[in-house]
Subunit: 193 residues, 2 copies
């Protein structure tokens, strides 16, 4: 069991509707020492890959990505979320649906910050149905850059985002894969990795 | 001249309407080495202050705050922005007006993450008219916690946010105070500190 899994068992709270609250250390209050441990672990798992940029998405991916970036020595770009608006030609845009908020959003990255020769590591806090992640992949591919890998903090293994992304051939490294949760008992089962 | 001022002169772009674009290193693409230098500088300027938590606001404050937090060895909480919605009693809420987007937003922090004995350093990327910052101060004060200090990357010295905040007696440390900009020539003048 790694330090993120241990922390989820200690401080995560399971709520009805397959909701896992980790706001005391991951996505509202943020434990920077934990983020450093996560960065170290991703660095190990992506050993040997060329990575010159990290892409994440606002808001809760940003802290994790910035701290992790220190282990790779690369800059971070964060994609912005927006209600559908008119965007000028200087932006890459992907449409994504939010599982949590049940609405459609645009994910936007300035064309200045993704180039053909970029080898991009995507970092995000959660992977559930994978819509946001597919938006980020689409943006990277639109730019001609390469998805070098994907690092996720918590994957909901009982939703299909992880399977879809792995089937597409991407190296997806989730530090904790939750295979089941029970809000009545608070029990959480992780996938053995 | 410090490293942030140097970087603004090198890569910042002045646009009509007193807009300073720093999206290549501060608030879209993020230079993590620069953030570390900024964190080091704030640590020096707040030497001797007791600080046990950093508060910032999504989205562009988060990366700066998380990297800077390593120099203080404290966790980071980020306030969430939301269109005015009904919030349950577990949240501190402040109303703020956005200069850039010309709309009203709520700034929200869970009551779990601010306690009476917290000594809070506020970190954000920009200070202009100070509305967002006043919202954060209001939230900290609602919780009974103390504002130990305020660290800003770029202050627009020709707007009145900085003056208001300093007049209220807070230790406000802006790493670059822009006293004037000229979009026609691209000239930027910093306040001597």
């Amino acid at each position: 069991m790694n330090c993120l899994e241990e922390r989820i068992l200690k401080d995560g709270v399971v709520k009805e509707g397959n909701v896992l609250k980790v706001d005391s250390f991951l996505n509202h209050q943020m434990d920077i020492d934990l983020f450093n441990e996560m960065g170290k672990e991703w660095k190990k798992r992506f050993e040997g890959k060329t990575i010159n940029k990290i892409l994440t998405i606002e808001a809760s991916g940003i802290g994790i990505a910035c701290v992790a970036a220190q282990h790779f020595g690369v800059p971070v770009v964060f994609a912005k979320k927006s209600k559908s608006i008119n965007i000028d030609g200087d932006m890459y845009v992907a449409e994504v649906e939010s599982f949590t908020h049940k609405c459609k959003n645009q994910v936007i990255v300035s064309k200045k910050f993704l180039k053909e020769d970029d080898q991009v590591l995507i970092i995000d806090d959660f992977l559930a149905n994978g819509c946001a992640l597919q938006g980020l992949i689409q943006i990277i591919q639109s730019s001609g850059a390469t998805v070098a890998g994907i690092g996720i903090a918590i994957e909901k293994g009982f939703q299909n985002g992880g399977r879809i992304i792995r089937n597409l051939g991407f190296q997806l490294e989730s530090l904790a894969i939750v295979d089941s949760m029970d809000w009545k008992t608070g029990a959480i089962t992780f996938r053995n990795m």
